[in-house]
């Protein structure tokens, strides 16, 4: 079994116009930088992207946005992206905003064979408006459907050649669920290792979910809001 591909360009070889693509990351943390660049390079259009945010202007998924490749975006918060605001107002991009917990669970459900579930989130708000609601044990819940994709672009810290993945700190976020919820999961890792090198107890995403894996390069790992505290001088 060989899931290793040479690079991001090879990894996205069969992505097509109109594809539905899940992209990992929270803000700029844990985004698959190489895969996003390759997608821009490939030039496929009319994409539906599923990602918590849309990068920032000029980096991450903001690059796909400015290249005009996104037709519809499903996410939870897009406030950092002025270009998206403009494109939505101009009718160039359709935007579907979902509460972050519902978004997470919809993707998890998509990979877990759960067609729909009931959540208390959004009951009585615009989120719950046009959906089926039901009462359980005296509390109202709204029904949400599973979310799936054609492709999942996942970023991990370490992966072996079978596709077992380990994430690092808060760069984990949506990557594990997205890895399970697409027909083709592509993982880009900072460290590609031999099968057997990962501690089996420490694997976050078991290899069954990953179709292609490659070692990424040239990570910028941009920090959106560098926040520091003053070091206390020792006396």
């Amino acid at each position: 079994m060989n899931k290793v591909v040479a690079n991001a360009d090879e990894a996205v070889r069969d992505v097509f116009d109109g594809a539905v693509i899940m992209v990992g990351g929270f803000g700029l943390c844990g985004i698959p930088e190489n895969l996003i660049r390759a997608l821009v390079h490939k030039g496929v259009k009319n994409l539906t992207t599923i990602s918590n945010n849309v990068g920032v202007d000029g980096f991450g998924m903001g690059l796909l946005l400015s290249a005009g490749q996104i037709r519809k975006h499903i996410g939870t918060y897009v406030g950092e992206n002025k270009l998206l605001e403009q494109m939505v107002l101009q009718g160039k991009v359709e935007l579907d905003l979902v509460p972050q917990g519902t978004f997470s669970e919809r993707i998890r459900a998509g990979g877990a064979g759960i067609a729909a579930f009931f959540t208390p989130t959004g009951v009585g708000t615009v989120v719950g408006e046009k959906k089926e609601t039901r009462e359980f044990d005296g509390r109202m819940y709204v029904m949400e459907r599973a979310l799936k994709a054609d492709f999942a672009f996942v970023k991990a810290w370490k992966g072996d050649k079978w596709g077992n993945l380990v994430y690092r700190k808060t760069a984990r976020n949506f990557n594990p669920m997205m890895a399970t919820a697409a027909r083709v999961t592509i993982a880009e890792v900072e460290h590609l290792v031999e099968v057997g090198e990962l501690d089996a107890d420490m694997v976050h995403t078991p290899s069954v979910y990953v179709n292609r894996i490659f070692q990424g390069e040239l990570y910028e790992k941009r920090i959106e809001k560098r926040t520091v505290r003053k070091a206390v001088a020792s006396s």
Binding site: F26, G27, L28, C29, G30, N52, G75, T76, Y77, V78, G79, E80, E85, V88, L89, L95, L97, P99, Q100, G101, T102, S104, E105, I107, R108, T119, P120, T121, G122, V123, G124, T125, V126, V127, W157, Y167, R168, K169, T170, A171, R172, N173, F174, N175, P176, M177, H204, K221, R222, I223, E224, K225, R226, T227, V228, R229, K230, A231
Partner: protein, 224 residues
């Protein structure tokens, strides 16, 4: 006192008072903006573990310059550090923790709160919708919700209303409102005024609030 100084004093009074609601062993989620300042007033020797919706339990302080790690950020996308006892997990696990009622306290800001405890804090119609992020899940799941906000808008209009006019974040989710003027509890019978800021009267608070307040027989002065 010039305005900026006043604003800092207001915020400090609000977050200091909220910090007095913390208990040892509490797991707490602090919303973006003013609520994050509550972390500065956790009493010494009290273990309060902060949860970040993006998949971290046990948020440490901001890193010292040079120690920033791009893989280590909070829900506001600021760089943070670990503490002893930190744990990481996925977003699905994070919101299972939140939605499943495992977080003791959620502190958030608000645009409007009404006398039924409805909350509006994510959208202003006519302006670009940025998204609700994790707010709706937080208010649906946390065991207790405390709102940290200024009592009135910049123009002096009440933010505590009979009925929210803005799109809701949650229905009947707010338990306690802490402002620069007062501390109020949401009860099945409406809002109860329990504490007033130093130098203020219950009448002054009522005048800045739209719904009729029940003044607690044990009305106290808000202490930081």
């Amino acid at each position: 006192m010039n305005k900026p100084g006043k604003d800092i004093d207001k915020r400090e009074r609000i977050v200091k008072r909220i910090a007095r609601e913390l208990r040892d062993g509490f797991y707490v989620n602090l919303g973006i903006g003013m609520p994050t300042l509550v972390a500065n007033y956790v009493p010494a020797r009290m273990d309060v573990i902060l949860q970040s919706e993006n998949g971290m339990l046990g948020i440490g302080p901001y890193p010292v310059e040079g120690q920033e790690d791009a893989d280590l950020i909070n829900a506001g996308k600021e760089t943070v550090s670990e503490m002893q006892g930190t744990a990481y997990f996925s977003s699905a696990d994070s919101f299972a923790m939140i939605r499943g009622g495992h977080i003791d306290l959620s502190v958030l800001g608000a645009m409007e709160v009404d006398e039924e405890g409805n909350l509006a804090n994510w959208m202003i119609p006519g302006k670009m919708v940025k998204g609700m992020g994790g707010a709706m899940d937080l208010v649906a799941g946390a065991r207790r919700v405390i709102i940290a906000m200024e009592h009135t808008t910049r123009e002096g209009e009440p933010k505590i209303l009979k009925k929210c006019s803005l799109p809701l974040t949650g229905v009947r989710v707010v338990n306690t409102i802490v402002t620069d003027m007062a501390l109020l509890q949401v009860t099945p019978k409406g809002l109860v005024l329990e504490e007033v800021a130093p130098g203020l009267t219950a009448e002054e608070v009522q005048r800045a609030t739209e719904p009729t307040l029940t003044v607690s027989p044990n009305l106290k002065v808000m202490e930081g």
